[in-house]
């Protein structure tokens, strides 16, 4: 999961395994959550988002789970591939026009071994 500090959390998996990346958020007023993937030298790339009226949302090979009770968000990647290796960020925002003013976590480094 993500936490405060200079060292990013890391996750190493084998190709074909499923990956779970965790994120704890702090603002109970947050009602929009989003996962980004960032490859070296590039900007963050949108993966999937979820609003607080949902607890699960699925995309292509990815699933986001939201537990508002414990303020926890997770990203599940099925059949992880080497191309999934990157830094993954969760972000949260409160409602209304604050949606674009995302607060980002520090990121988790995912390394996929062939």
């Amino acid at each position: 999961g993500e936490n405060v500090g200079l060292h990013l959390p890391t996750l190493s998996v084998q190709e074909g395994d499923n990956s779970i990346i965790n994120c704890a958020y702090s603002n109970s007023a947050s009602d929009y959550f989003i996962w980004y993937k960032q490859e070296s030298g590039k900007g963050p790339q949108f993966i999937i988002d979820i609003r607080s009226n949902m607890d699960k949302r699925q995309g292509q090979r990815v699933t986001v789970l939201l537990n508002k009770t414990v303020k926890h968000l997770s990203l599940q990647i099925a059949a992880t591939q080497p191309g999934d290796s990157a830094v993954y960020f969760c972000a949260e925002a409160a409602g209304g026009t604050s949606y674009g003013k995302l607060t980002f976590g520090q990121g988790t480094i995912l390394t996929v071994h062939p």
């Binding site: 200079l6 790339q45 949606y99 995302l102």
Partner: protein, 113 residues
Amino acid sequence: IAGITQAPTSQILAAGRRMTLRCTQDMRHNAMYWYRQDLGLGLRLIHYSNTAGTTGKGEVPDGYSVSRANTDDFPLTLASAVPSQTSVYFCASSPKPGNSPLHFGNGTRLTVT
């Protein structure tokens, strides 16, 4: 290819100098944002603009200014650069200020010496 263009890609700047980072989008998005990314601190919002002609302060606005004269351009200016402004700067946009994910550029790596 539609998207966000940032310039320059990288820059080394002497402390005290003025610098403008450029950002242009061709998606006709209303909202635009500037973030800085520092290891261990993630991405932090500097300034934002919900629509052309308006701007607002983010989490870390000090030492930076922005303008939004039109929909497509959102330049970020450092009036007098300091070493603590060494960072990677990302511009982003969204169709509207709410309910939609941000699209990011590929960043400007700035080193202030």
